[in-house]
C-alpha cells in the first residue's frame, strides 16, 4: 500500500471567521483561567506514585545476623551491561563465600535491573527510590555498607505469567 498524504482541508478565503475564532480562543483560555485544572505535582510535598517495577537505587539484602546475603558468585558484575559493579570475593573458615569489596557506581549504572534478575540468592536489588542526590561525585559510588543501609522498597521482578504486573 502506497503511503498517502492527508491534505488538511483549509477553509477558503472569505469563509474563515477570525473574530469568532479569536473569541472562541479567548473563552477557552478564560475557562482555564477561572477554573485552573492543574496537572502539576508539587514534588517535595507530593511524591510521585512509583510503579511496582520502577528500577532505582540499589540495596543489598541482609541476613538476620547482619551479614550481606551476597555469596560473591560474580554473576552480577558479569551480566552488568554498564560494568558498574566491582566485586572482590572472599571465603571464610567454613568455606562460605562473601564479598570483601562490593561497589556499585550509580553514575555508570543504567538501572536495567539485570543484577537483580541474575542474582541466585536474591541479595542485590534495584529499588523503588530515586532521590539520591549528593554534593560530591565520589558519593555516588555506593560501597557494601551503604548498599546494606538502604531501606526502600525493592523492585518487583517481571513475571512472565503476569506481564503487566496486575
Amino acid at each position: 500500500m502506497a503511503i498517502s498524504v492527508k491534505v488538511m482541508k483549509r477553509p477558503e478565503a472569505g469563509r474563515t471567521s477570525y473574530m469568532r475564532a479569536t473569541l472562541k480562543g479567548m473563552s477557552l483560555t478564560l475557562k482555564h483561567m477561572v477554573r485552573p485544572d492543574s496537572v502539576t505535582l508539587e514534588y517535595p510535598e507530593e511524591q510521585p506514585a512509583l510503579h511496582p517495577r520502577w528500577r532505582g537505587t540499589h540495596r543489598m539484602e541482609v541476613h538476620a545476623d547482619g551479614r550481606p546475603k551476597c555469596v560473591a558468585c560474580g554473576l552480577c558484575p558479569t551480566v552488568c551491561p554498564a560494568n558498574c559493579i566491582r566485586l572482590v570475593g572472599g571465603e571464610d573458615d567454613q568455606g562460605n563465600r562473601y564479598p570483601i569489596v562490593y561497589e556499585i557506581d550509580e553514575f555508570r549504572c543504567i538501572f536495567c535491573g539485570m543484577c537483580q534478575e541474575v542474582c541466585p540468592v536474591e541479595a542485590i536489588h534495584v529499588g523503588r527510590h530515586f532521590e539520591n542526590a549528593e554534593y560530591t561525585r565520589d558519593r555516588f559510588v555506593y560501597d557494601l555498607d551503604r548498599l546494606m543501609e538502604q531501606d526502600h522498597a525493592t523492585t518487583l521482578l517481571w513475571d512472565p505469567s503476569d506481564p503487566r504486573s496486575e
Partner: protein
C-alpha cells in the same frame, strides 16, 4: 485648582509623585507576577508559588536576583548608547502616568487636592509625545548591542511604533472631538456629563485604540520587536541583570499606562458607574458638580469617601485591562510582520479616518438639531458607532483583511490534492 502657595504646591506635588511612582512600580512588579501566575493557570500549571504565600513575594525575589546578577557588556557594543537604551526606555514609560487622573479631588484641611500628578492642559498630547519616545530606548538598545537580532528587534520596534502611533492618534481624535478638550480631567468630566462612557458612543474608536495600544506596548499578538522564535529576544538580547529588567519594567509600565488610559478615555476614568454623586469638575476655577436649569453652577462637595470610591473604581477598571492584556497575550499567536504592517496602514488608518468623519458628521448633525450634550446626544452617537462597529467587524472578519498563508494559494491546486485518491 491651583490655590496653594508655590511652596505647598511643590510639597503636595512631590508627595503625589512619590505616591504614584511607588504604586506604579509595585503594580508593575505584581503585573509580572500576575502574568506568570495567570499564564500558568491558562496553561493548567501553577506558576511561581514558592516565595511567600501563593508566591506573593516572587517579584521581590526577582528584583534581588536581577540586582545581584552580573551585568554583561558586549565587547563590540557602543558603550554609551548601550547604557542609555534602558534608561531611555524606562523614563517615558514611567512619566506618562503623570497626567492621568486617578480619583476625584481629595478634600484636606488645607484645601482640595487634585488626584493627578500634573493636570497639564495638553494631557493627551503629552501622552502621545512621551509614549512614542519610549521607542528610542528600544532602537538605541538594539542598535548599540551590535547584534543582528537585537538590531532587527529595534528596527521592528521603530517601524511598528511609528505605524501604530498613527492609528492610536486617529482613534484619539474621535475622543477629543467628543470631549472638546485634550485635558484628561476634562475627558472624565465630559463622560460624566454625557452619562455615557465614551466606549459606547465611540465604540469603534475604542477598538482601534485597544488594538493600537497592544501594538504600542509590544505585547502579543504584536510582540514583533522581541519575537522569541525569530529574534532570540529581539532588542534586549544582549542585556542582562538590571538593565534587562529595566526594559521589562518599561514594557509593563507601558502596559499599566495603556490600561489606565483606556480606563480614562473610554471607561469614564474614576467615574463610578450609575452614580452621579461623584460628578465634579472645574468650571472657571471652582469645583462644581453640574449646572442647574438656569445654567448656574452647582458647587460640589468633595469628600474623602468619594475620593476613595472613585479611586477604587479607577483601580478596578485599570486592573480589568491589565488582566485583558495578560489574557490576550496567552491566547493569541503572534502576527506575521507583513500582517502587522498591513493591519496598521491599510486597515486601521483608513478605517479610523472614515470613522472620524462619521463621528464629526454625526456631531454636526446633532449640534444643528440642537440636541443638548447629554443622554440623548450620547444615545444617538452610540447608535451610529454601533452600526459602524458592526460594519467594520463584518468586513474585517471572514478573512477579508488579514488572511492566513492559504490565501495566496487560492486558485492553485496543491500537487497532493490532485494525486490523492
Amino acid at each position: 485648582m491651583n490655590h496653594f502657595s508655590t511652596f505647598w504646591f511643590v510639597v503636595i506635588g512631590a508627595i503625589k509623585v512619590l505616591a504614584v511612582f511607588t504604586v506604579l512600580m509595585v503594580v508593575v512588579a505584581y503585573m509580572t507576577f500576575a502574568e506568570r501566575r495567570v499564564s500558568a493557570f491558562i496553561q493548567d500549571r501553577l506558576g511561581p508559588n514558592r516565595v511567600g504565600p501563593q508566591g506573593l513575594l516572587q517579584p521581590i525575589a526577582d528584583g534581588i536576583k536581577n540586582i545581584l546578577k552580573e551585568e554583561t557588556m558586549p565587547a563590540t557594543a557602543s558603550k554609551f548608547y548601550f547604557l542609555l537604551g534602558p534608561a531611555l526606555a524606562i523614563t517615558p514609560a514611567l512619566v506618562t502616568f503623570a497626567v492621568i487622573p486617578f480619583a476625584a479631588p481629595l478634600p484636606t484641611p488645607w484645601g482640595t487636592v487634585d488626584m493627578i500628578v500634573a493636570d497639564v492642559p495638553i494631557g493627551v498630547l503629552y501622552i502621545l509625545a512621551l509614549s512614542s519616545l519610549g521607542v528610542y530606548g528600544l532602537v538605541l538598545g538594539g542598535w548599540a548591542s551590535n547584534n543582528k537580532y537585537a538590531f532587527l528587534g529595534g528596527l521592528r520596534a521603530s517601524a511598528q511604533m511609528v505605524s501604530y502611533e498613527v492609528a492610536l492618534g486617529l482613534s484619539l481624535v474621535a475622543v477629543l472631538l467628543l470631549s472638546g478638550n485634550v485635558t484628561l480631567t476634562e475627558v472624565v468630566a465630559k463622560q460624566q456629563a454625557l452619562e455615557f462612557w465614551f466606549v459606547f458612543p465611540l465604540s469603534l474608536a475604542f477598538i482601534f485604540f485597544m488594538v493600537s495600544a497592544f501594538a504600542e506596548t509590544n505585547r502579543l499578538p504584536f510582540d514583533m520587536p522581541e519575537a522569541e522564535s525569530e529574534l532570540v529576544t529581539g532588542y534586549h538580547t544582549e542585556y542582562s541583570a538590571m538593565k534587562f529588567s529595566m526594559f521589562f519594567i518599561a514594557e509593563y509600565a507601558h502596559v499599566v499606562t495603556a490600561s489606565a488610559l483606556m480606563a480614562t478615555l473610554f471607561f469614564g476614568g474614576w467615574d463610578v458607574p450609575f452614580w452621579t454623586g461623584d460628578d465634579m469638575f472645574y468650571h472657571q476655577g471652582a469645583l462644581i458638580r453640574g449646572f442647574d436649569a438656569a445654567g448656574a453652577p452647582i458647587p460640589a462637595t468633595p469628600t474623602v469617601l468619594v475620593t476613595l470610591l472613585t479611586l477604587a473604581s479607577f483601580c478596578a477598571k485599570t486592573a480589568f485591562f491589565l488582566l485583558l492584556f495578560i489574557w490576550v497575550r496567552w491566547t493569541l499567536p503572534r502576527f506575521r510582520y507583513d500582517q502587522v504592517m498591513h493591519l496598521g496602514w491599510k486597515v486601521l488608518l483608513p478605517a479610523a479616518l472614515i470613522y472620524i468623519m462619521l463621528v464629526a458628521g454625526t456631531m454636526l448633525v446633532l449640534d444643528q438639531l440642537g440636541v443638548p450634550f447629554g443622554f440623548r446626544y450620547g444615545l444617538a452617537l452610540t447608535g451610529v458607532s454601533g452600526l459602524a462597529t458592526l460594519a467594520f467587524l463584518f468586513v474585517a472578519d471572514r478573512d477579508r483583511i488579514i488572511g492566513g498563508a492559504h490565501k495566496k494559494r487560492a486558485g492553485r491546486r496543491l500537487p497532493a490534492e490532485t494525486s490523492a485518491s
